[in-house]
Subunit: 327 residues, 2 copies
């Protein structure tokens, strides 16, 4: 998700071991130094691994060697262009794949000029680039109430992840000027502020976070009917504050919690409906409205329920589930 | 989100006005009736409007005319395939666009066979199809159990959307060769087959649909604890069939229902975890594992619960909710 577009990183000089001379000679040494049409520098690219790819976005990130240097090659098919449609339909080959009722599917082979692949080469590439583009596989974990007690809770406790940055916000030691709304009540109160992912330039990708003042609620798993006043307060006042500040009504908002969360201090996500925010998938997100209803009908719902969530291959918690034979 | 890939709908018979004879004659009259390579039915397609497109997903939804009939044509570039990389790099033309330090970008023109466009034709297309594929704003609707009884259920009934294409599949009148697995039991049975959105070339974007043999379950709202054997059967056997056929274990799958669904005949989505399938967001998707648990603890869970879902601005159901003062 975060990996899904070409992005430059701050290169770490110490790991770069720049050996550019050779590549520069072979590739033409700079913009327009040779006729760019005439050479295919990639013909000698040797792929060693696929770092990541996206079938949805038609991208692929490759690690390999280019003239003896480490290189990353990023391929991304280009968007379909309206101005090419007429030629696309007349100049292509078409193969029927399936027909059922009014629906049929084909494979269309378009002339190369209408079907380009945007190619980005990073060479020489450093370890930092490889990590950046490397996709981590995820696994869906099934966590019963007992698993939480015996595996997850001890793991969280032991890691004692620092949430100092959260306390800094709650205490106005940092980001005070970013606060959109605050209810200072120590029990039901919270601070609402834009998420880092949102540049606040347009509401299309609106993303705010409500962080509760209470410090002993780690996640969804800790919630019982006791917390209903807190949750209802966040839901109500968060929506009101967003309407007032951004003129966006509740019917345009997706309000949810993550499980597992990124940090174990209770917080609620407010994102714009229609914006496919990272982490809004059904496997990780829980609508606040559903959480409230579930706690209303069963005060222990989140203590007893089996919860499902994805964990990345390198997540320590996944290791604990594997050790326990739960995967 | 829901707009971003080819998708079938329950067709509204009253607006279909099927005039198939001509199209059938011209297009070959059925699966494999003519050599599918020899004709390009799209060469006579005349685009009237772009209904929607996605630069991120490399898709385009077109409305136009095909042999005097209304048609929708959906274009989607295919994912980049690892097994084509060697030939892609040696057999393509490359144009340098930009070079800066260790980064350079190119336009790569690949041979047509490595650069196909998946093309779906809906012909004749109805108003409903046009609406389905037209980009539209969405609103989150809150539907209580009473709202379902008084607003949604009568609306669905009145529309009497045709699901003939579903019955064609269940009766092996169409797409029989695409079936991945079937449990023929009339009560607990289902047919598992690839969704239209998936070209089956790679498992990265695996997308299958389980369609139940029972014909009277319209959606999540109709489910009670009576349906637990059906749901558990789909969950279990669907996962087994996918493991066997695609070597993908349950821990790599996201298994869920939509509410509202696109068509009112119960079906379950199986997508690969990590693939951001359209419609997998928390506002529309319900994990089958959660549905099963919820029905186990409350047989009437989905009859009584308030459910939240997005509706597009032009959805007739949204109009009904507005009329009732529920938005």
């Amino acid at each position: 998700m975060a990996d899904s577009a070409a992005k430059r990183v701050g290169a770490d000089e110490s790991t770069q071991r720049v050996k550019r001379a050779k590549a520069d000679n072979e590739n033409g040494g700079g913009e327009g130094a040779k006729d760019p049409e005439c050479e295919n520098v990639l013909s000698e690219f040797k792929t060693s691994t696929v770092l990541s790819d996206s079938a949805r976005e038609k991208t692929m990130f490759l690690h390999g060697k280019l003239a003896d240097q480490e290189a990353v090659v990023i391929l991304e098919k280009t968007p379909i262009r309206e101005d090419s449609l007429a030629e696309l339909f007349t100049g292509s080959r078409l193969k029927l794949e399936m027909r059922n009722d009014i629906y049929s599917t084909y494979r269309l082979q378009a002339p190369p000029q209408f079907n380009e692949i945007k190619t980005t080469v990073v060479c020489p590439a450093t370890e930092k680039h490889l990590k950046k583009y490397q996709r981590q596989e995820s696994f869906l974990v099934e966590e019963t109430g007992e698993d939480y007690q015996s595996i997850t809770s001890p793991y969280i406790q032991k890691q004692s992840f620092s949430v100092q940055w959260v306390y800094n916000i709650l205490e106005k030691k940092a980001e005070a000027e970013r606060i959109v709304y605050e209810d200072p009540d120590p029990e039901a109160g919270f601070v609402l502020l834009p998420d880092f992912k949102w540049d606040q330039k347009q509401v299309d990708d609106l993303y705010l976070i409500a962080i509760v003042h209470q410090r002993d609620i780690r996640s969804l798993r800790d919630l019982t009917s006791e917390h209903l006043p807190l949750l209802q307060n966040i839901f109500q006042k968060g929506k009101e504050a967003i309407l007032q500040r951004y003129n966006l009504p509740a019917s345009k908002l997706r309000v949810y919690l993550h499980y597992q969360p990124s940090y174990y201090h209770l917080h609620v996500h407010f994102t714009k409906l229609g914006y496919e925010a990272p982490g809004c998938g059904v496997e990780r997100a829980h609508l606040l409205a559903d959480v409230i209803q579930n706690l209303q009908s069963d005060p222990q719902y989140y203590k007893t329920r089996t919860l499902y969530f994805p964990l990345r291959a390198d997540d320590g918690l996944l290791g604990k589930f594997k050790e326990a034979g739960r995967l």
